[in-house]
Symmetry: C2
Subunit: 209 residues, 2 copies
């Protein structure tokens, strides 16, 4: 006998978001931030994510305005760039991931760093006014912060800094949060990852739920 | 001043896995399962994932043998198929995701279900002996179980069933676990997702850490 389950995608989203809003403590988020937090919690499958989500003042407005104005979205991993729902993007925004660019491995060796960090050098022509979405590699977030210590480096409009894991993730997000070179969003601690990062981008791209 | 952080990718993996093995209770996993659980925890950034991971008897051996023999990997979402590290695959295994196939939207409408579920109909020519990796959509896992209730449907070699979320995720994984049509791995409850699913595939593909 076939299993019985909800097969209407829109209804699944509606019910999911209603459960999150019933269970999670979202009171500290303003109306610009709340739908972003809800979608991040949805991607994680975990209302306990809520207390770890942090938005710097004006982040959600800055990121939405940049996307409306056509900003490219710069991603550290293919799981991030592939997860972004193109139909939600307000201006046919470019989605850029340079990790698998042919030049990246040799550049990483020359720089003595990871491919994830070296790939960011190829962001330079796109970085001014961009929305940065780092959901995998702490080394990418650290390298971005180092790049932005150069005052001549172009400034992104907003930074989603949500790398995940046990080595460098919490530290890189703490460094971003302590001295943000642009409005930013983080998930404090070890949690984070490509799905949560994608969810933030998808929420910022469109108010539609 | 540049930030100080580990830039050696291999060292980052080594340190991460050592932290996980020091902090997580992995005693109930056998030597075939343990590296899979470690990598899933790594992807989640959460040692608290450990008690939710379940392997049916012989799952890890069956999935590894299938991959060694060249089994295709059938993925419900592009975030899953894109995350699989091709260099770890033992036999140049095909990685298949039919979600964005041109035929899928019309098929979903005709079937009255989600695109994620309808996309699985296109798995049929690949399903015999395959490794299934469902990391996103509960409707995909439910539909797979319904397909496999037909005794003439080809059998996969192993099923990684880790959809995430608030509506149907726990229920679909419970249904798989209660009556597995093939050796299976689940993350019980709401947790799961593409990164955890990808991590399981990458661990089963190669013993290298």
């Amino acid at each position: 006998m076939p299993h019985e389950y909800e097969t209407d995608g829109a209804a699944i989203y509606r019910q999911s978001f209603a459960i999150i809003r019933a269970e999670a403590d979202l009171a500290r988020f303003d109306p610009d931030e709340e739908p972003v937090a809800v979608r991040m919690i949805h991607a994680a499958g975990m209302v306990a994510l809520a207390p770890h989500i942090r938005f710097s003042a004006g982040f959600a407005r800055a990121a939405r305005a940049a996307l409306q104005a056509g900003a490219p979205i710069l991603c550290d991993a293919r799981m991030v760039s592939e997860g972004i729902t193109r139909a939600r993007l307000p201006a046919g925004n470019a989605v850029v991931c340079t990790l698998h660019d042919a030049a990246t491995p040799a550049r990483a060796t020359a720089m003595g760093t990871t491919r994830s960090a070296a790939a960011l050098e190829l962001w330079l022509p796109h970085l001014a006014g961009a929305v940065v979405a780092i959901g995998n590699a702490p080394t990418a977030l650290f390298h971005l912060l180092d790049m932005l210590e150069d005052p001549t480096c172009p400034r992104p409009a907003a930074i989603i800094g949500c790398p995940v894991g046990f080595v460098g993730a919490a530290e890189s997000k703490n460094a971003l949060w302590a001295d943000p070179p642009a409005p930013c969003c983080i998930v404090a601690g070890r949690l984070g990852g490509s799905a949560i990062t994608v969810a933030a981008v998808n929420a910022l791209a469109s108010r539609a739920e």
